[in-house]
């Protein structure tokens, strides 16, 4: 039964390469297919939907969700969760913006959110790993602290007059919008790191079976703290793509952002039971959300129905995943 303690995708059966790819990345393919169907379907109805300009704006405007979902995916693979990520991004945006308008060098305004994100999440990680308080409770408390702290420090004032060279998300690389490039590069880098390095794979081992991980000598508690810190770094990077889109930074945090990020991870195939899931899936799911939100407008459905669609989509995806898993389990039992 070694397959129980190894990452679920580390040891695929020998098969034709294409079949092997589908059996390993079946879930990601389903999400990608859903995106494709949506793009073609809505594009036939209203060609303006698939214009390069519209697609570019919806994907780069939502790239920060995909980036934040990378860190969340690592956490959920480890059977942890972070409810405070929305509030954290709000706090980091304000920190970054305050530094930018204070006249300090711009690189400092870009670096600070990443470092602060790592430091704040290190506190959550330590409380979870060493004090033994469940992550859902620690991060619930952290959410209150960050949200309340942000408003009481800023007094609700917005930051405006941001220097033009601060607006990272407005820049382009080889003609592609910066947020899109970052989301793609970070997803691929994180995906390869998790899949190919022993360190990255240890997260799957711990999430799949913490006892076994401890038995083979992995420092489980240190890795849990590390997962929180890495997640904090991605929250900082997401903040950069979020806060530098507009001329102003609001002191309120985007409502329900944490749920959007968690949902992207889950729809992307990260099992909440730990041990499986990839960042490719979570990024694709973030793309899918962005596309759905925009598509509803292009087919003349009121945007107020958007959340109902996303909710139904979550339940369908998870339901299909449960069925697939049950079928796989009964097939394996024979």
């Amino acid at each position: 039964m070694t397959s129980q303690i190894l990452p679920a995708r580390a040891n695929p059966p020998a098969a034709a390469p294409l079949r092997r790819f589908f059996s390993e990345y079946g879930h990601e393919c389903v999400v990608a297919l859903a995106i494709l169907v949506l793009l073609v379907g809505v594009g036939l109805y209203n060609p303006r939907f698939i214009s390069a300009r519209n697609l570019g704006s919806i994907f780069s405007g939502n790239a920060y969700v995909a980036i934040a979902a990378i860190g969340m995916t690592i956490l959920i693979v480890m059977r942890q969760i972070d409810l405070s990520v929305g509030a954290l991004i709000g706090v980091l945006a304000t920190i970054s913006g305050s530094i930018a308008v204070s006249g300090a060098p711009i690189w400092l305004a870009w670096l600070a959110p990443v470092l602060c994100g790592m430091a704040i999440n290190a506190v959550s990680g330590l409380l979870v790993a060493y004090a033994g308080i469940p992550a859902i409770v620690v991060t619930l408390g952290m959410m209150a602290v960050l949200q309340g702290g942000l408003i009481s420090v800023t007094g609700g004032a917005w930051i405006s007059n941001l220097p033009a060279d601060f607006l990272l998300a407005k820049m382009a690389v080889f003609g592609l919008p910066m947020p899109l490039v970052w989301a793609i590069v970070l997803t691929i880098a994180a995906g390869l790191w998790l899949r190919l390095t022993p360190y990255g794979r240890s997260f799957y081992l711990i999430g799949g079976n913490a006892e076994a991980a401890r038995a083979v000598g992995l420092p489980v508690r240190r890795r849990i703290v590390m997962a929180f810190v890495i997640h904090g770094a991605f929250a900082g990077l997401a903040t950069l793509m979020f806060a530098t889109q507009l001329q102003v930074i609001q002191s309120t945090t985007p409502p329900n952002l944490e749920l959007l990020v968690i949902t992207a991870s889950v729809i992307g195939g990260v099992s909440i039971l730990g041990g499986t899931g990839t960042v490719f899936g979570s990024s694709l799911a973030a793309v899918l959300f962005a596309a759905i939100g925009s598509a509803l407008i292009f087919v003349n459905v009121s945007a107020y129905w958007q959340r109902a669609f996303i909710g139904a989509l979550i339940l369908l995806t998870v339901g299909a995943d449960m069925l697939r898993r049950r079928r796989a389990a009964s097939a394996g039992g024979k």
């Binding site: 969760i81 409810l83 409380l127 004090a131 033994g132 308080i133 469940p134 859902i136 409770v137 620690v138 619930l140 408390g141 952290m142 959410m143 209150a144 602290v145 949200q147 309340g148 702290g149 942000l150 408003i151 009481s152 409502p255 749920l259 968690i262 949902t263 889950v266 909440i272 039971l273 009121s302 107020y304 129905w305 958007q306 959340r307 109902a308 669609f309 996303i310 909710g311 139904a312 979550i314 339940l315 998870v318 339901g319 449960m322 049950r326």
Partner: protein, 312 residues
């Protein structure tokens, strides 16, 4: 005694301490008027937090309560004003809808085997989305006079909705502490497999507690609509986190198997006392939120350390 109810004792001391310190900060705090008004304001969270205690003791969680509340509030308004039903009928249908929302959560969790966190995360989006879609961001106003009595008036010397909370408190306390159903809930939370092998009605009990939570959310919605005389689709946003905070602060283990109604009641009182007392003492609302977050973390930290000491 202290070993069994250590957490409740700590909480009770915290509540008394908070009452004492806060009454020194403002002479408007410890007055009958203020305390009655506070009990009115905490009614909606209390109605939801009490059955939520059952859900969390059973090892589950329900994130969809705030959205259920929003959907039920919208249904009252739309059925009454747009569909032209009499208000009592609209209220009854809205309560039924809350029950249905809870049962649907149960269906996803029990029949389809989804983890409760994920299933109710999905229904959180779904129910809120339905509320937004049905209402199209229009609010409903102009409720009749008699309806306001539930949320704004007094009955027998207390705010009307407080009687509803006390009734819910009594029912939940008795069911959890003194009946077979209550013990079944603890058994499910400790080990669902063992409970199943012991022949306990695991599935029926779980359906019942999710349905009860849905129904309670609908009741909270009606109390809320009556209190503010308006219906909007964003009602109850964040209610799930307030309710869970009160339950967990009350000593219920998020892993299940442990917790009491008394603890949840104390948790609710502590949160409301801090919010009100601090705002009267001149702390802005957001500073209060920070403190509640800190109290939550520190209480659990102390609890975890005490547990370790007791075991060692």
């Amino acid at each position: 005694m202290l070993k069994r109810h250590g957490h409740e004792a700590v909480l009770a001391v915290l509540v008394v301490g908070a009452l004492f310190i806060l009454s020194l900060q403002s002479d408007r705090f410890l007055t009958l008027d203020n305390l009655l008004n506070q009990s009115r304001l905490m009614a909606e969270v209390a109605l939801v937090a009490l059955p939520m205690t059952f859900v969390i003791i059973s090892g589950g969680i329900d994130l969809s309560v705030g959205s259920t509340m929003g959907l039920c509030a919208i249904l009252v308004g739309v059925l009454w004003q747009s569909a032209g039903l009499p208000l009592p009928a609209a209220i009854a249908l809205s309560l039924l809808a809350g029950l249905a929302c809870g049962l649907f959560n149960g269906l996803l969790i029990i029949r389809f085997g989804m983890p409760p966190l994920i299933a109710t995360l999905g229904t959180l989006a779904l129910y809120r989305g339905l509320a937004e879609g049905i209402s199209q961001a229009r609010s409903v106003r102009g409720y009749p006079e008699w309806f306001a009595r539930l949320g704004q008036g007094d009955s027998w010397g207390l705010p009307s909705q407080v009687w509803l909370v006390l009734l819910m408190l009594a029912i939940c306390g008795i069911v959890l502490g003194l009946t077979r159903w209550g013990r079944t809930i603890y058994a499910i939370g400790s080990s669902e497999t063992a409970a199943r092998f012991a022949g306990l009605p695991v599935d029926a009990t779980k359906y019942a507690i999710y349905a009860a939570t849905g129904l309670a959310s609908a009741m909270a919605a009606i109390v809320f609509v009556s209190r503010v005389s308006t219906t909007r689709s964003d009602m109850g946003t964040g209610l799930e986190l307030d309710a869970i905070t009160a339950v967990v602060l009350g000593g219920t283990s998020i892993f299940g198997g442990r917790g009491t109604i008394l603890g949840t009641a104390l948790g609710l009182i502590l949160v409301q006392t801090l919010e009100n007392g601090l705002s009267l003492a001149g702390v802005k609302g957001d500073g209060t939120v920070v403190l509640i977050g800190l109290v939550l973390i520190v209480t659990l930290l102390v609890g975890a350390l005490m547990d370790r000491r007791l075991r060692a």
